[in-house]
């Protein structure tokens, strides 16, 4: 699995949950299942697909995030996006 590059993250319209754009144009909750763009052209193609999905009311506020490799796993570069991807760092006792 590729572990560096960019992915598209958004909120799903119906429940607001964080989702990643997948290679087949669908949206998945697991970062490992999302499409990873390894260069800028690929990233822009992902973003364009996400914006189309936004206009079709599948998701809200899609945007590109940087991904780095951490022990063989995809990890958002920014702290904020890491929390978005993994969920709150508190109240993990009450996670869904």
């Amino acid at each position: 699995m590729d572990t560096k590059g960019q992915m598209v993250l958004a909120n799903r319209l119906t429940d607001g949950h964080v989702v990643f754009l997948a290679a087949d144009g669908g949206w998945v909750e697991d970062i490992a299942g999302g499409a990873l763009a390894s260069d800028q052209d690929a990233a822009q193609r992902l973003l364009a697909a996400a914006q189309l999905a936004e206009s079709r009311n599948a998701v809200v506020e899609p945007y590109l995030i940087g991904i780095r490799n951490e022990a063989g796993r995809r990890q958002p570069v920014s702290f904020r996006e890491a929390i978005r991807a993994a969920g709150p760092t508190v109240r993990t006792d009450l996670a869904d």
Partner: protein, 560 residues
């Protein structure tokens, strides 16, 4: 408790119907997100980092056991088994699905609650002293006036699209437990020289990026003039408040740009034109009707300070510690006000699980005439507890981890949801509160420190009231890392003040140690019975800078 009349029921039901149709249109694509966002915000629904958040009003902090059971039901059925009490006497659910929101609003309406105007650029939930109607130092119960203002401001056609949000707080007591001076409009019930009760009116208080303590623009306002005077203030703001820059759109910026005297002049000029409008007269029959809902409950005739309770306190130091920290004098003999601490060590401040909600509601029925309150410091209150029941209640609260004897103490921390939930935040706030709570878990140490508030915000928007904590903690992001800036000397009470910045920000891991250093310096400097805030005001910031940053030249340079 106020009960909805037919107009309230109709208004809330119609509003839910309207929002249900708006949600359907959003889901079907008839509304874009840009079109829908202001509509959902006016119904209390935000889109946060992980999901939709719903903010529910608890008007002036009053809640019945029936309502709390319903909040538990909503947490369990529609959310993830917990809710978060905020600094504005609201409860927030963090995981409400958009398509289920109308059902949640209907469940709230079934117990006469709503989320209307809990967001958006309109008049928000009216907040009040959590001890309203019960405090011994109270001049008059503020709740009927809060309810009147609520009715006046809900769906007010002129004030639904203000430059920015608008917050009003009311206190009926000279001891300010409602942060009145930090609101867009603050009202204190006061007696004039003739002993007649009216309102002192403050404007332009607020926190956020540009914090200000409010200015008194009228020392005393007759009750009959309340709505016309508020209308005049809102009109001056609505007309002259800035709409070009959201950061400068609050009334505090307008008031402080014009100066309070000029702002007062403009308000008086407007007021002169509308003061005698029959539409804005305080309707005597209506205020009587509202006031009747807040009549004293059927308190029993009981002896005050019974010997048995004194004996229990003497024989049980743990009960005595809780009594001294969490129990407050009640104006009815034989009764007490009890604070339930939502700040057990390691717990997210203000959080309550669905099971806890149900159990607290049952205890409210058993011990507090079925009523409870929510404080802006994110705790709960039982307003009517028989003094002879205190020990039994304390034992029950211990089982729920709601009996930590820390009200007003260092670990009674205000914290915003921070970057764990909030789309605006730069850093987390809850883990910092948890770390401090664990670091200072020794109750004897807390008691020795005495009154000391810590308020934490995860960004400059200051939802965690960091400007007015005796110690304030503000999260700032630096190159992807969380850092925290400390301020000292803030207060949200009647002696309101804004904290002074201590020095450079420090990493999260160093925060408890820095607090420890500040506390140690305070203990070394304090005079007999002098609380931290007063010591700080007496000695200034320098000794505390030295305590946290040391006094080597390099460190002093870094602080500067």
């Amino acid at each position: 408790m106020y009960r909805y009349d037919e107009f309230d029921h109709t208004l809330v039901a119609e509003r839910i119907g309207t929002f249900r149709r708006q949600v359907e249109r959003r889901l079907s694509g008839d509304l874009t997100e840009d079109q829908f966002k202001p509509l959902r915000l006016m119904n209390g629904q935000y889109l946060q980092l992980h999901a939709y958040m719903l903010r529910v009003n608890i008007p002036y902090g009053c809640l019945s056991s029936r309502q709390l059971h319903q909040l538990a039901f909503i947490a369990r059925r529609y959310d993830r088994n917990f809710g978060h009490f905020t600094t504005r006497q609201n409860i927030q659910y963090n995981w409400i699905k958009l398509d289920e929101t109308p059902a949640v609003l209907a469940a709230l309406a079934a117990v006469e609650m709503n989320a209307m105007q809990s967001s958006g650029n309109c008049v928000r939930n009216i907040t009040a002293d959590q001890f309203a109607g019960r405090a011994r130092d109270e001049i008059e119960d503020p709740r009927p006036w809060c309810e009147l203002i609520r009715q006046w401001s809900i769906l007010h056609p002129e004030f639904s699209y203000l430059p920015r949000k608008f917050k009003i707080a009311v206190s009926g007591a000279p001891s300010d437990r409602a942060a009145v001076k930090l609101h867009d409009v603050g009202l204190y019930l006061r007696r004039n020289a003739d002993g007649v009760i009216g309102f002192e009116v403050l404007v332009g208080g607020g926190q956020g990026r540009l914090p200000y303590v409010g200015h008194t623009i009228r020392e005393w306002l007759a009750k009959d003039d309340l709505l016309s005077y508020l209308e005049a203030i809102l009109r001056i703001y609505n007309l002259g408040g800035r709409r070009d820059n959201p950061q400068k759109a609050r009334i505090k910026v307008q008031v402080n740009a014009l100066g309070p005297d000029e702002f007062r002049r403009l308000v008086d000029e407007e007021w002169a034109q509308i003061r005698n409008s029959p539409l804005l007269a305080v309707p005597g029959a209506e205020i009587e009707r509202i006031t009747a809902y807040f009549a004293d409950p059927a308190w029993e005739k009981l002896p005050d300070a019974p010997v048995a309770v004194a004996g229990q306190r003497k024989s049980d130091p743990a009960f005595d510690a809780w009594y001294r920290a969490n129990v407050v004098e009640h104006r009815a003999p034989g009764y007490a006000i009890v604070n339930l601490s939502l700040k057990a060590p390691g717990i997210a401040p203000g959080d309550l699980t669905a099971d806890q909600m149900d159990q607290v509601a049952e205890l409210a029925d058993r011990f507090s005439l079925g009523e409870l309150r929510v404080s802006h410091r994110q705790n709960l209150v039982f307003p009517d507890v028989r003094q002879t029941d205190l020990r039994a209640l304390w034992q029950e609260l211990q089982k729920l981890s709601l009996a930590t004897p820390n009200i007003g103490k260092l670990t009674d921390i205000i914290a915003c949801p921070g970057l764990d939930f909030c789309a605006l935040a730069n850093t987390r706030a809850i883990p910092v509160a948890q770390d401090i709570g664990r670091h200072f878990s020794d109750l004897a140490v807390l008691q020795d420190i005495g009154e000391l508030t810590i308020n934490i915000s995860g960004c400059m928007n200051a939802c965690g009231h960091h400007h007015v904590g005796h110690i304030g903690i503000l999260g700032v992001e630096k190159n992807g890392e969380e850092f925290f800036q400390l301020t000292l000397g803030g207060s949200s009470a009647e002696d309101a003040s804004l904290g002074d910045r201590l020095g450079r920000s420090i990493p999260a891991a160093e925060v408890p140690v820095a607090i420890e250093a500040i506390v140690c310096r305070y203990k070394a400097l304090r005079q007999v019975d002098e609380r931290f805030l007063d010591t700080y005001r007496r000695v200034g910031i320098e000794p505390f800078k030295e305590a946290v940053y040391g006094n080597s030249p390099q460190r002093r340079q870094a602080v500067a």
